[in-house]
């Protein structure tokens, strides 16, 4: 999917759908994280010649499964409609707001999530297992419930809401609230990826750096970060992609206010009520951005 680099939404989509044959390869890569690795290595050893065909067939089913909904979306959209939607003010505002909110949230996730992952991976403290569970909770919680929980914490009558209101900070139904909702929902993806990577760093390398006189900061910069770079890219990609598509927690906690909290997924939802064609066009734009992002970052991970 080399076409994903040209930056224009339409070009990306054409590249994504055009290469049906080439698509199988990248599909395998996207899906190959778990038990597929073992199969893959079995294949490389040449022990399972016949399994190759079976793998290709099943992998192909997976690719079709992911591809068909996209084809459906594209077949329902018309270039003229897409163009009209892209030019509309509401869509433009939603798109920029989505980028703004997701990027700020990503920054927050990194600033808070990295130290959190580091603590979970490296420091044994009482209640670590509990904290670990707590951090991953937003992944299993329905986002709407997450939004309600945020309201009951930071809402006007929430645990912290009154204190915040007294110092002039109002989060619900503001852009800052949307950022908070996105951060809440997407940070676990970064923390879990980074924690696993940090556990896997060879402690000997960090010890060697320490005996050579390197400060903790220098060790982090010159040994630890280079070692976890692929996981950092993967975690950031997952985190950002999840944030970009965030819907439930945002609409519950921050509402659906045009230009302030109406991100792309909310705009799609809005459009679906009144103009299904517009919803499809918006969906395609969101899809193109996400696909470009994921392809670019997954490409980063492949290089090591």
């Amino acid at each position: 999917m080399g076409g994903g680099k040209d930056g224009s939404g339409e070009g990306v989509l054409e590249a994504g759908f055009g290469d049906r044959s080439g698509g199988a390869g990248s599909g395998d890569r996207l899906g190959g994280a778990g038990s597929g690795d073992r199969l893959e290595s079995a294949l490389r050893e040449g022990r399972a010649g016949g399994a190759h065909g079976v793998l290709a067939a099943l992998g192909g089913v997976g690719v079709v499964f992911f591809l068909l909904p996209l084809v459906g979306l594209v077949s329902r959209a018309t270039p003229a409609g897409l163009w009209r939607q892209l030019g509309s003010e509401v869509v433009g505002a939603a798109m920029w707001l989505s980028l703004e909110v997701s990027v700020i949230a990503l920054g927050l996730c990194l600033v808070i999530g990295f130290p959190l992952a580091y603590l979970l991976a490296r420091v044994e403290f009482p209640g670590r297992a509990l904290v670990r569970g707590l951090v991953s909770l937003p992944m299993v919680l329905p986002p709407v419930v997450g939004g309600i929980a945020l309201l009951s914490a930071f809402g006007r009558r929430g645990v912290l809401g009154e204190a915040l209101a007294e110092v002039g900070v109002v989060l619900p139904f503001t852009t800052a609230g949307a950022v908070l909702a996105v951060t809440f929902v997407s940070m676990p993806f970064l923390v879990m990826t980074l924690e696993a990577a940090l556990v896997g760093v060879d402690p000997r390398l960090e010890q060697a750096a320490a005996t050579l006189g390197a400060s903790r900061w220098r060790i982090l910069r010159t040994v630890t970060l280079p070692a976890i770079r692929p996981a950092l890219a993967a975690g950031l990609a997952l985190c950002w992609a999840r944030g970009l598509g965030e819907f439930g927690a945002t609409i519950t906690f921050a509402g659906n206010l045009e230009g302030r909290t109406q991100t792309m997924p909310l705009a799609v939802y809005d459009a679906l009520q009144t103009d299904p064609e517009a919803a499809i066009a918006l969906g395609l734009v969101l899809l193109a951005v996400s696909l470009t992002l994921l392809t670019a970052l997954r490409g980063q991970i492949g290089r090591r």
């Binding site: 060879d202 000997r204 390398l205 010890q207 060697a208 750096a209 320490a210 005996t211 050579l212 006189g213 390197a214 400060s215 220098r218 010159t222 040994v223 280079p226 070692a227």
Partner: protein
């Protein structure tokens, strides 16, 4: 033994359920081989000396400076030692010359002079042409030299070498031993060579410390110990059978 070398005063080190007790004195500027079977406590001692494991009891003094004991535990960063780790632990993302320059950079030396000095060390060890290679592109012997240069460039008062020969195949070991002996003899400070191979110890070291099951069994010059070997050494010098 006028000047102080490395002094281990009634030291106790614990790691998990294992404990090591040792009391010994190493004269300055000599090469000591630390020998003993697997599980004797060799690596535990090295890690404690490097500051990576705490000292439970006793005191460690190097050239008159207390490294650990009596409420003191100098951080690994501040000990100024050189360590060649088992498996070498070269930084995989850095070139050979960057690996060697690492200790100088950590001490605040600028990039240019640090690289130039590192290049001189690589040349001294006969691998000046491999400066830009990554550790993954080096043979076992070449990687060993890079690790040795990285540890020695900071001119440590104590150089710890934990099984530095394990990366070499049998044919390469003979030549490596005499080279290592020369390089270590030329460096000031105490050099502590951990090995489970008696031939390494005899070929490289001036003195030997023999550990078994967490205790010091024997110590002395290589000649003394070979003349009256303790039971363990006698067993070690026989060809190894299945254990």
């Amino acid at each position: 033994m006028m000047r102080a070398g490395l002094v281990l005063d009634d030291c106790l080190v614990r790691r998990g359920g294992f404990s090591l007790t040792i009391d010994c004195l190493v004269p300055p500027d000599c090469t000591v081989a630390l020998v003993g079977p697997n599980g004797a406590g060799k690596s535990t001692l090295v890690e404690m000396l490097a500051g990576l494991l705490p000292l439970a009891q006793g005191r460690v003094t190097l050239a008159g400076r207390v490294l650990a004991g009596a409420g003191v535990r100098v951080a690994p960063q501040a000990r100024g030692l050189g360590v060649v780790f088992q498996g070498l632990a070269l930084f995989p993302g850095l070139s050979a010359v960057e690996n060697v320059a690492y200790g100088l950079r950590a001490r605040g030396m600028r990039r240019g002079p640090a690289r130039a000095e590192a290049q001189r060390w690589l040349e001294r060890f006969g691998i000046g042409g491999l400066a830009e290679r990554r550790p993954g592109e080096l043979s076992g012997g070449q990687a060993q030299r890079v690790a040795l240069a990285r540890a020695m460039i900071v001119r440590p008062p104590l150089l710890l070498l934990d099984e530095p020969m394990s990366a070499l195949d049998v044919e390469a070991r003979g030549a490596a031993r005499s080279l290592l002996r020369g390089w270590l003899a030329a460096a000031p400070g105490v050099k502590l060579l951990v090995t489970h191979d008696l031939e390494d110890a005899v070929a490289v070291a001036d003195r030997m410390v023999v550990l078994a099951a967490g205790r010091l069994v024997a110590e002395g010059t290589v000649a003394e110990l070979l003349a009256a070997p303790p039971a363990f050494l006698a067993a070690m010098s026989r060809p190894r059978g299945p254990t």
